[in-house]
């Protein structure tokens, strides 16, 4: 990650963290997004919105976030709202009077700087470090604690998994694959291995089974490490893959047992 992006992400997270402190939030159900947004000067509306997950319209120090009325997934709605609120709080300027974000913007964590900042802002607002970190201190890395975070904080599995990898004390990585290719990955600070992206998945990976139309093993499994990473000294790696049906993606948690 570029240094300036790293810094701007920290600033975005700090802004979200300040909001958490400002409103005395210490439980997941305290994160009342619509009320927080309103207090910050933003109303949230549902209505017609074509080709976008959400849209922010600014007017001076106020704004309106529009969500498509067709969206029924609470987790996606909450993330879209927090993401747009991020653009508002972080003073991102759109090319027009509006900032329109597609689903793709929210799934690509390293695409454009503003989008990345808004994603990290949203993650901290919806899953504050102060509440999530202790839940990531687990003995075995799998999607089980991730699912619990997603459920309690009403977020998507992807967003929860990124938080999990960020705070988990074990060396682990999250890989998102699409159509047989690793699209992006997010690794913990102590993960020292290179995960090749934009290359066809190795057939030995569980994720490849999904794209090959086979039934994907849905529990963590130790597989040959070189199926995922370029390092001959490491023999085995634990993979837990899960299909995100809506997006046609596979999320994979990789873990090197310490």
């Amino acid at each position: 990650m570029k240094f300036d992006l790293e810094l701007s992400i920290r600033i975005a997270e700090k802004q979200a963290s300040d909001i958490i402190k400002k409103y005395g939030i210490y439980q997941p159900d305290h994160i009342r997004l619509e009320d927080i947004a309103f207090d910050l000067g933003v109303t949230i509306k549902e209505g017609s919105l074509m080709g976008a997950s959400a849209r922010l319209i600014r007017y001076g120090i106020h704004g309106t976030i529009r969500l498509p009325v067709t969206e029924s997934n609470i987790a996606r709605k909450r993330f879209s709202t927090a993401h747009e609120l991020g653009h508002f709080v972080l003073n991102h300027r759109g090319y027009s009077l509006e900032i329109v974000c597609s689903e793709d913007d929210m799934m690509n964590w390293y695409k454009k700087d503003d989008e990345t900042e808004a994603n990290f802002f949203a993650s901290e607002l919806l899953m504050p470090e102060s509440l999530v970190k202790k839940r990531c201190d687990v003995k075995k890395v799998s999607f089980e604690p991730v699912g619990k975070i997603a459920e309690d904080f009403r977020t998507s599995l992807t967003a929860a998994a990124i938080r999990f990898v960020r705070f988990c004390p074990e060396p682990c990585a999250l890989v998102c694959s699409e159509n047989y290719f690793a699209k992006w990955c997010y690794t913990s600070d102590d993960w020292k291995f290179f995960i090749p992206l934009h290359r066809k998945l190795d057939d030995r990976t569980l994720a490849a089974d999904y794209f090959a139309g086979k039934e994907m093993y849905d529990k963590p499994l130790e597989i040959e490490a070189e199926a995922w990473i370029e390092n001959r000294r490491v023999k085995e790696i634990t993979e837990h893959s899960i299909a995100l049906g809506h997006y046609g993606l596979v999320l994979t948690l990789l873990w090197l047992r310490s």
Partner: protein, 148 residues
């Protein structure tokens, strides 16, 4: 869950009251003597201090969240107003909507760096929705003014 919380709060308040009464009766005593007396009464001063700090912190957090209750009631009012005005631009043509939007965009309140070059390419329905959202944002200004 709420009853548990209520009970806990009542117990904490009772504890604070009793402690205040006890401390009031020990004005002439040193801190060490007070500590010893508390221990004799079966109260660990360190645990109690931590419990009080924790309780005070929780009370402070709960008080901060009251701001969100106020926001919620204001939000309900604004949403009701917005609902009432929904569809008010349905009868307007694309050109009429564009004109109204340009009036908004000419406002000195908006940051001048915003451009509206692409608006012509949008459908009438898109423009109507944008205008509605602009109005919703503007109504927030009235809320702020009402609060002052």
């Amino acid at each position: 869950m709420q009853n548990d919380e209520k009970l806990k709060n009542e117990r904490n308040m009772l504890f604070i009251d009793s402690l205040a009464d006890f401390l009031a009766s020990t004005e002439s005593k040193s801190s060490e003597e007070v500590r010893e007396e508390l221990i004799v009464e079966g109260i660990d001063p360190d645990i109690s201090t931590n419990r009080l700090i924790e309780y005070a912190h929780k009370c402070s957090m709960d008080a901060k969240r009251k701001q969100l209750d106020h926001a919620a009631s204001m939000r309900n009012r604004v949403e009701t107003l917005n609902e009432k005005s929904a569809g008010r631009f349905t009868a307007l043509s694309k050109e009429e909507i564009m004109k109204k939007m340009k009036d908004y965009l000419a406002s000195p309140v908006l940051a001048p760096s915003f451009s509206y070059r692409d608006l012509n390419k949008k459908s009438r329905e898109d423009l109507e929705a944008i205008l509605e959202d602009l109005e919703a944002a503007q109504s927030m200004t009235s809320v702020d003014e009402g609060n002052e």
